[in-house]
Symmetry: C2
Subunit: 310 residues, 2 copies
């Protein structure tokens, strides 16, 4: 079981090196992260975009692309660069897909492209994996960045996706906590009714490979001490030991996500789920380490999916 | 300006000592907190409840109630104890009201009692004040515990309340951030439309005594570094320096609240707002320090309200 990103990086070193296709790679922070991922044997990149700029940045950071045998595909138009990059993954020439210097919506349009994209016909969702000081295991947060208001069925799908990500990280039969402000079902709070339904679907065997127990408040989900002292805790299957935090909507998810980023010591990495192969939708505010962790996460997930997609 | 609970405690020492009425005080953790608040001259309590048990706990913690001139009102029935305790505040014999060993709903029923309660005819809401390691000012979080789904008008009222709490803590013209996952208005996300309306009402002078700027994501609200690098940040009135975090609903608020409690080094104190006098709705999971901080917060707010209520 991976309790840390060090262990995910260790896992990566034990699988065949994955190929990473980068859309519009002409961006210093992206190139720095990709170079370090390459140096640490996490992934071998294929860089699409403005070749002159890519080579200029490479030389700036002391990366001899030719000596390293790094393929560069010249496509100055970002939209075309994205399509060229995503096609490499679509065609099986690369194992995962990463955003460079282009807008998120352009990147996502390439992911969803019918001819060369990574569509599976199912919805997309996002997972962010956190290692947080004081917590002895990885936490899988979803959805904190992509899907605004997931329906009950969307949440079922999100769970199916995130179970695969957990498994890829070595977490078997993860504990999934559908979160809310309270831990009792209240018809006036639809989120609690949905959490209860997801729990029932898990008990009935419709949602497999995990233990779902909700609604849960954050303390019952992640704080064993608090959970122990709460009435009714002895009847729950999650007692402060959740692996997956399933958020009611993007507002709750994103606000918690950014609270962790601003207020704690953490490492994290994030990927898109629901695609044929993992896609990395980094943000400019992500640190280099977060980008490298995201590549490593994508690599273990790509290995686990074995070309089958989510 | 109070940047810490130490400064709130310093403020308390400079105002006339407030009287704290405690409902069903026969609870060891509550008595310990109330004793320390008394020892530190934060408040003089009046204890209602099961007198024998109260005196037993007092002797257990070495508190000579008679020598200290502490009034005890014997009322073994918790509902009656709550009504007796809240009446003291209603009648002006005490300045603030605190929950002891009784259910929250019983406590709230006493707050809302038409004859002896603390109703103002306006809605109630909750504010939690946080001092968090790495953040150089107090953060006022609302509503994380009481109001499930505040309407636009409720949010306006919440802002009016919390401005008074800020002022009581020495924070003039607080910066109020109506939070969301994003910082742009999106008609598909009603929370962002409401945040925009609150901002307009502030600009038009309908919401006074503060600077409202929303919708804001958590990083734009509290992280000056992140805010500086975000496009459009130069046009905002809040750039990582928000005092008040106004949450979309109780799920987002409570999940962030408990994330902070579980994952950071913090001090906090919380009170109910919208009442004739501050009410302290502590939870069993609150630490002694949180209870004492809540009493201190209630004292400075009671002093600021000067008997006029919210």
């Amino acid at each position: 079981m991976s309790a840390s990103f060090d262990e995910i990086l260790e896992q990566v070193s034990q699988i065949p090196t994955k190929k990473l296709s980068v859309a519009a790679a002409q961006d210093l922070p992206v190139m720095e992260a990709v170079k370090e991922a390459y140096d640490r044997k996490i992934a071998v990149p294929i860089l699409t975009g403005d070749e002159a700029k890519i080579r200029e940045i490479a030389s700036q950071i002391g990366w001899d692309l030719d000596a390293c045998g790094i393929r560069v595909i010249n496509e100055p138009d970002v939209e075309q660069a994205a399509l060229a990059a995503v096609k490499l993954v679509h065609d099986g020439e690369a194992d995962m897909y990463m955003k460079g210097l282009l807008e998120s919506k352009t990147f996502l349009r390439s992911v969803l492209n019918k001819e060369v994209g990574l569509r599976t016909g199912k919805m997309l969702s996002h997972v962010c994996v956190f290692q947080i000081k004081g917590i002895d295991r990885l936490l899988f947060l979803t959805d904190v960045a992509f899907l605004p208001y997931p329906t009950l069925e969307d949440k079922e799908q999100i769970i199916n996706y995130v179970v695969k990500v957990c498994n890829a990280c070595g977490v078997q039969n993860p504990k999934v906590a559908p979160l809310a402000a309270v831990e009792v079902v209240n018809p006036k709070m639809p989120v609690t009714v949905e959490a209860d339904q997801l729990t029932k679907w898990n008990e009935e065997g419709r949602i497999k490979g995990c233990i779902v127990d909700g609604p849960l408040s954050m303390d019952l989900a992640i704080d064993p001490e608090a959970a122990k002292h709460k009435a009714g805790a002895q009847n729950r299957r999650i007692v402060g030991d959740a692996d997956v935090l399933l958020f009611p909507d993007i507002h709750a998810g994103n606000l918690v996500y950014k609270t962790i980023v601003r207020m704690t010591e953490f490492k994290n990495g994030c990927i898109l789920m629901g695609t044929k192969a993992p896609a990395i939708l980094t943000s400019r505010s992500d640190s280099k380490e977060t980008k490298i962790n995201s590549i490593a996460l994508a690599a273990v997930v790509a290995h686990h999916l074995n070309g089958q997609g989510f």
